[in-house]
């Protein structure tokens, strides 16, 4: 266990020093890392549902939107404290996820993909429709910067620390879940629900509770996004956003926490490198994903761990039981 302690301290040190060292104090690099952190949370939380519990969802953006707009509306119109608004967003997403999850998760395969896509489309249309509340398609303005314990995080560097503290928290929670008996239960549900139920696993309940957890993490990411942007528009929460997050999970490596996180970072940093040749970007993203899906079944992270294993950097995956 000692080795793990040292490594996690090293990780936290890196995150703490990042803005000061590599990125310089320029807001741009902290902002990039903030967006990266938000999408890492979205990818990991979706992977909990898709990679571990085996439930395909194209509706992750719905709860991302609920979190963002809860934070946006409550802080702008009802000038609630950002922390309070975030908590309301979390609980609202949790309740909706529990209510919807129970009925939708009875479905499987393409049906489940379509029902969750319908969920995201309904949320998107309602946000545009309820114009007086959400600012509709023209958007919600002047969302204040995040404030906690009296410190207002209007500079991107401060907010970077808060966002990545949340990212670390989400990673720790997800690792705790998948390393516990619950992780095994999800694996059983993913493999064969019927066989799992004959061991006393209430598949409907466990799937719904995972759906609720995953949706609440997405809502957290939404609240963080609202205070980063300072402005909210429905365009950022459409069906394409859900597809974008699903692509991150599979690009990085479905069924592994670090894989999903890496997929999110890779896909969000890619435009930084490819924004020069605009017309080819769409074709490029498609081809990259195709190459990964065909040649790297375990995703980009699978390749990296394989390389790592060759250099004796990482322990043998099998001996660590469930791969992270």
């Amino acid at each position: 266990m000692m080795k793990r302690r040292i490594i996690s301290i090293a990780a936290l040190l890196f995150l703490a020093l990042y803005p000061v060292t590599f990125g310089g104090s320029s807001p741009y690099h902290s902002a990039i890392m903030i967006v990266l952190g938000i999408y890492v949370i979205l990818a990991i939380s979706l992977d909990l549902l898709v990679g571990f519990a085996g439930q395909i969802s194209l509706g992750h953006a719905a709860f991302y939107a609920i979190g963002a707009y809860a934070s946006g509306i409550l802080t702008v119109t009802y000038n609630m404290s950002p922390v309070g608004a975030m908590l309301v967003g979390l609980s609202l997403s949790g309740v909706i996820a529990a209510f919807i999850g129970w009925s939708v998760l009875k479905l499987r395969g393409y049906y489940l993909a379509m029902a969750t896509m319908g969920l995201a489309a309904i949320t998107h249309t309602l946000i545009i429709g309820m114009q007086s509340l959400t600012g509709g398609a023209s958007g919600l303005r002047d969302v204040p910067p995040f404030r906690i314990f009296g410190i207002s995080m209007d500079s991107y560097v401060h907010y970077y620390y808060f966002v990545w503290a949340m990212v670390v928290l989400v990673i720790v929670c997800c690792l705790a879940i998948i390393r516990s008996p619950m992780g095994r239960t999800l694996m059983a549900i993913h493999s064969d629900e019927a066989a799992a139920s004959t061991l006393g696993i209430n598949c409907a309940f466990q799937k719904t509770s995972t759906f609720v957890a995953s949706s609440m993490f997405a809502s957290l990411a939404g609240s963080l996004y609202a205070h980063y942007m300072g402005f909210l528009a429905p365009d950022d929460f459409s069906i394409f956003t859900s597809v974008h997050i699903l692509v991150m999970v599979f690009l990085g490596g479905v069924g592994t926490i670090y894989g999903a996180a890496f997929g999110a970072m890779f896909l969000k940093l890619l435009p930084e490198l490819t924004h020069t040749f605009q017309d080819y970007e769409l074709l490029g993203n498609g081809l990259i994903l195709i190459v990964v899906l065909v040649f790297m079944p375990k995703g980009l992270w699978g390749v990296i761990t394989a390389v790592g294993r060759k250099l004796k950097l990482t322990g043998d995956a099998i001996s660590e039981g469930n791969s992270e």
Binding site: S180, T185, M187, I201
Partner: protein, 265 residues
């Protein structure tokens, strides 16, 4: 049908039809506590359907299934499992997602004891880790019982067919069931493996676990079964101890066809 106080499972007029065809038609039988009961009959007689109904994967169209004091005819599979019924499957159903290991499969049997949920794994980490350790030890015990302790960290797919059957048995045993349903556990085993399997069954029986067994291997049935029910075309045609069943004309006709009856008399 002798109904004395100590039967653990009772089926009463259980019927199940699939689009008009009566897979199981008005079957009733009891299983006494602590015995090995065998369900035999030609292929397609409805034995697996019966087992699926007892374990809750299928619901009977009519009739009742009682387990100890509860009526479980229409309970969902996970509730039936929690009452203390474990089972294995005719076609192997091991867990293989997220590179699961043999140990993972077996430890999943302890679900009823561990009762895992998200909140526990987040907030009661210490308690879950302690329970996890004791479960791991119990799992290794059972793996020793079926002789697979050194395959714990392997993927189940890398094992032989016989060993995979043993993993499924170990998984079912891990849930410390009162009643164990086995669906053709000996099929696909060579002779040495069958003998070993029979010893394992006896040790399980000594631990007080009642066993309801579907099996074609007559060596296992005739040597181990205390009581046998014969099912043919979804109906019960005979019941009794192995000796009585071996000479029952109805059973012979069901297995060997009509013309043999003349020879025996």
């Amino acid at each position: 049908m002798t109904t004395n106080g100590n039967d653990i499972l009772r089926l009463k007029n259980v019927t199940k039809t699939f689009s008009g065809v009566a897979a199981v038609n008005d079957v009733s039988f009891n299983v006494n506590k602590g015995i090995i009961k065998a369900l035999i009959g030609p292929n397609g007689a409805g034995k697996t359907t019966l087992l699926n109904m007892i374990s809750g994967l299928l619901e009977p169209d009519s009739g009742y299934i009682y387990f100890e004091a509860d009526t479980i005819s229409h309970s969902p599979p996970h509730e039936i499992a929690r009452c203390g019924i474990g089972r294995t499957f005719q076609l192997l159903r091991l867990f293989t997602a997220n590179n699961a290991t043999v140990l993972d499969n077996v430890m999943l049997g302890a679900n009823n004891k561990l009762k895992p949920n998200i909140l526990k794994s987040l907030f009661l980490r210490a308690q879950t880790n302690k329970a996890e350790k004791s479960t791991r030890e119990a799992a290794f015990e059972i793996l020793k019982l079926v002789g697979l302790e050194n395959a714990a960290y392997l993927s189940p797919l890398t094992l032989s067919f016989g060993s995979q059957r043993m993993v499924e048995l170990a998984r079912a045993l891990m849930s410390q069931p009162k009643l164990l349903l086995l669906d053709e556990p000996a099929s696909g085993l060579n002779d040495a493996e069958v003998d070993e399997f029979m010893e394992t069954l006896l040790t399980i029986k000594e631990k007080g676990v009642t066993i309801l067994l579907i099996e074609h291997n007559m060596k296992v049935v005739m040597n181990l079964a205390d009581d046998i029910t014969v099912i043919d075309f979804g109906e019960k045609i005979a019941e009794g101890n192995p000796h009585k069943i071996a000479n029952d004309p109805e059973v012979i006709r069901a297995y060997l066809g009509d013309d043999h009856i003349g020879e025996r008399d």
